[in-house]
């Protein structure tokens, strides 16, 4: 593997050579391989043993209603991921993950393929009546000062 990590800027770079070619510039990244490589780098005395953890892994699979869910991998502590080289699309397989959320955009299309099902969704904006009052008060104080309107 020739991943590189800038432990100061917290950028994990995955080279094309460490991706699995699907076709053309279309590649695949097995998140199990990705995790193992990060674990190796995190433990390396000359790499990131001193640095905070990069990734949180849950290997729990829920046998729910006959379905086995993939593990979860979450990039944490401010690390970001980027794919370098000549690649247009990367399919992420092997786990649910948040790589898309921490991706340094370099023109690569990343397909996470996360599990999706019934979700808990808050309807509307989620802003409460009290939030609105607080926002209004803060705006008023900022513009006019607090002493004018006790």
């Amino acid at each position: 593997m020739s991943y590189s990590v800038n432990w100061i800027t917290k950028v994990v770079s995955v080279p094309t050579s460490d991706l699995t070619l699907v076709s053309g510039n279309h590649y695949r990244l097995d998140l199990n391989v990705f995790r193992i490589e990060l674990r190796r780098l995190e433990s390396d005395f000359t790499e990131g043993l001193w640095a905070v953890q990069t990734l949180e892994h849950s290997n729990t699979r829920f046998d729910f209603a006959g379905v086995d869910y993939a593990p979860f991998d979450k990039i944490i502590n401010g690390y970001t991921v980027e794919f370098s080289g000549s690649v247009e699309r990367v399919d992420l397989i092997g786990s649910n993950n948040n790589i898309v959320d921490v991706l340094n955009y370099t023109g690569v299309s990343v397909v996470p393929s996360n599990s999706a099902g019934l979700q808990v969704v808050t309807s509307g904006s989620g802003v409460t009546a009290q939030d609105k009052t607080d926002i209004a008060n803060l705006s008023r104080d900022t513009i006019l000062g607090t002493e004018s309107f006790p």
Binding site: W7, E42, F45, W50
Partner: protein, 587 residues
């Protein structure tokens, strides 16, 4: 057996005395039979009685025709037996056997210039039952005729005897004796006293020693190595100080073992030696001498001698700052006999080395057990050295210059890691916690000036904190050179603001030039936990000064079987920090 003290009934005491001893016509007083003991007054009174009688009676050969046998002074405590050899061919004399039945005063006999003197010794105090006191005179232990006590005329008296301090006109070691109580499993006591006319007092007190509970034979087989000679030891991290010996309890594992071991050397009846001095003859009279000039080569523990006549003395070499006589500036000795070396006297070693004393020798304050008081922690005797690594801040020692030194509180950081496989190699990192974040503080110092490639040491800007481990790691970020990770170095020591790189791990010195101002921080742990089985450990130590909050992790990233990283945190307190981590497979 009856003890006839000064206030005994006169008729009874005199009768018993004359029955027990014979007085010859020529004045010789000898023991016949009996086990009673007598105040010296009854010697005088018995003699006066038979020279008052008109007739000779019993085995005594004196009557009114004989010259006055004795005089008494100081309420009967100073008895002089008179010599009438010239006029009457009578010389009243006792012998050592008779003296062993007397107490309570002194007896002087013989003509001036060739007289014998028996001086009274009274030992007061309280001792553990069964204690057999020792009396050392002129580097000889006097033959005991007192067993576990004699002439104990009151509850605070352990022993009352006569000691011969002059024979044929020659004084024995300046009439000085040392009384010792060195019984196994009891506290020890030593008292030096110069005897004189009448009765002189020594004080001895002992009690059961709670730190001396082992079997003597077991302790004598401990295998501890005696430590004798001059040593420079850094006790408190503030530089070397001078000591005698550098005692270590190794191969045993406790200070108590060492304490008992040295007590065993000095126990009554010991044939072992301390600084070459037989344990029975150890009197703890230690003198510190400044040497102005000298020659030859001293031999550790050799016998020493100096002076002549009233200035003569002998001893054993305990320590010299250098054994090269020409360079010796300080020499410590155990006084065996005589007086300590006076100014300008020449000390001569058994091997021929010499040293001329400058100024007045200083008598050191010593302790009967030699090493000092031990209560589970040391209060070291004056000038006694200990292996610094075996001391804690509960111990206190005093160097040869009288400085009281308290070792720092060396505390341990121990991380134990339970792995899945014996062959796993868990890596451990631990550093001081950031003041705010639950993360290491990566910027505790900065690179100093002059850190160049191949340098064997590394300089930081701010003085290194005293609670930094003497062996550890520092990480430096080559910001100027575009570094993407801290680079770590293992150091083997530090001083001021300089770390000395571990020569084994960094034989070539620094890997590159470092720029002033770049960040640096200390890793308390930055290595593998090791061990033969699945239980592995890593440790370090530091001098505790205040609590240190730490954070770090244990990682095992072997691609073949990586484990979940484990965050570790805690506080290094007065007892250090001990953590146990169990790694779980992450596959």
């Amino acid at each position: 057996m009856t003890i006839y003290d000064r206030n005994a009934d006169a008729n009874t005491a005199v009768t018993a005395f004359l029955t027990q001893f014979k007085v010859a016509a020529a004045g010789g007083i000898t023991y016949v039979a009996g086990s009673h003991t007598y105040h010296v007054w009854w010697l005088h009174r018995a003699l006066q009685k038979i020279v008052w009688d008109f007739t000779i009676s019993g085995d005594d050969e004196l009557n009114l025709s004989k010259p006055n046998p004795s005089t008494s002074e100081a309420l009967g405590t100073i008895i002089s037996l008179l010599d009438h050899t010239t006029d009457f061919s009578t010389n009243y004399l006792i012998d050592d056997t008779v003296a062993s039945y007397l107490f309570g005063g002194s007896i002087v006999q013989g003509a001036s210039g060739s007289e014998d003197k028996y001086y009274g010794l009274k030992v007061l105090g309280q001792a553990v039952a069964g204690t057999e006191l020792q009396v050392v005179q002129n580097a000889v232990t006097l033959t005991s005729h007192w067993s576990t006590g004699k002439n104990q005329t009151d509850s605070n008296t352990l022993l009352r005897i006569l000691v011969k301090t002059m024979t044929g006109g020659s004084e024995i070691d300046n009439s000085l004796v040392v009384v010792k109580a060195h019984e196994w499993q009891d506290t020890n006591a030593i008292w030096e006293t110069t005897l004189g006319l009448g009765e002189s007092v020594a004080a001895i007190n002992t009690s059961a020693d709670p730190q001396n509970t082992s079997v003597l034979g077991t302790v004598q087989g401990y295998g501890i190595t005696k430590s004798e000679g001059y040593n420079l030891i850094d006790i408190d991290g503030n530089g070397n100080k001078a000591f005698m010996g550098e005692w270590s309890y190794s191969p045993q594992t406790s200070k108590k073992a060492l304490y008992e071991y040295v007590k065993a050397i000095l126990v009554r009846g010991s044939s072992d030696t301390l600084f070459g001095v037989d344990g029975d003859l150890w009197t703890g009279r230690v003198y510190d001498n400044t040497i102005a000039s000298g020659s030859g080569t001293w031999v550790q523990n050799e016998t020493l001698s100096w002076g002549a006549g009233a200035t003569a003395g002998t001893g054993h070499l305990m320590a010299a700052d250098t054994l090269t006589g020409g360079s010796t500036a300080r020499l410590l000795l155990h006084l065996d006999t005589g007086v300590f070396p006076e100014a300008a006297s020449t000390i001569t070693g058994g091997g021929g080395a010499t040293g001329v004393v400058s100024g007045v020798s200083v008598k050191l304050s010593t302790f009967p057990t030699h090493l000092g008081q031990f209560t589970g922690a040391w209060i070291g005797a004056f000038g006694i050295g200990f292996a610094s690594g075996e001391l804690t801040n509960a111990d206190s020692v005093k160097d040869l210059d009288g400085n009281t030194l308290s070792p720092p509180n060396n505390v341990n950081i121990i991380i134990t890691v339970e792995t899945g496989l014996a062959g796993d190699d868990p890596h451990v990192f631990l550093a001081e916690k950031d003041a705010v974040l639950n993360a290491p503080d990566y910027t505790t110092n900065t690179v100093g000036a002059g850190n160049s490639s191949s340098d064997p040491d590394f300089v930081v800007t701010t003085a290194i904190a005293s609670d930094t481990p003497q062996d550890g790691w520092f990480g430096v970020l080559d910001t100027t050179g575009g570094g993407v990770s801290y680079e770590f170095y293992h150091y083997s020591s530090w001083s001021g603001s300089t770390y000395t790189l571990d020569i084994t791990d960094h034989a070539g010195g620094l890997d590159k030039n470092y720029t002033s101002g770049d960040p640096v921080f200390i890793a308390l742990l930055y290595a593998s936990a090791v061990g033969g089985g699945t239980t592995k450990a890593i440790s370090n130590s530091l001098i505790y000064t205040s609590d240190i909050d730490v954070v770090g992790w244990v990682r095992h990233g072997d691609p073949a079987n990586p484990d979940k990283p484990v965050l570790i945190s805690g506080t290094i307190g007065t007892a250090g920090l001990t953590l146990t981590v169990v790694l779980d497979d992450e596959s």
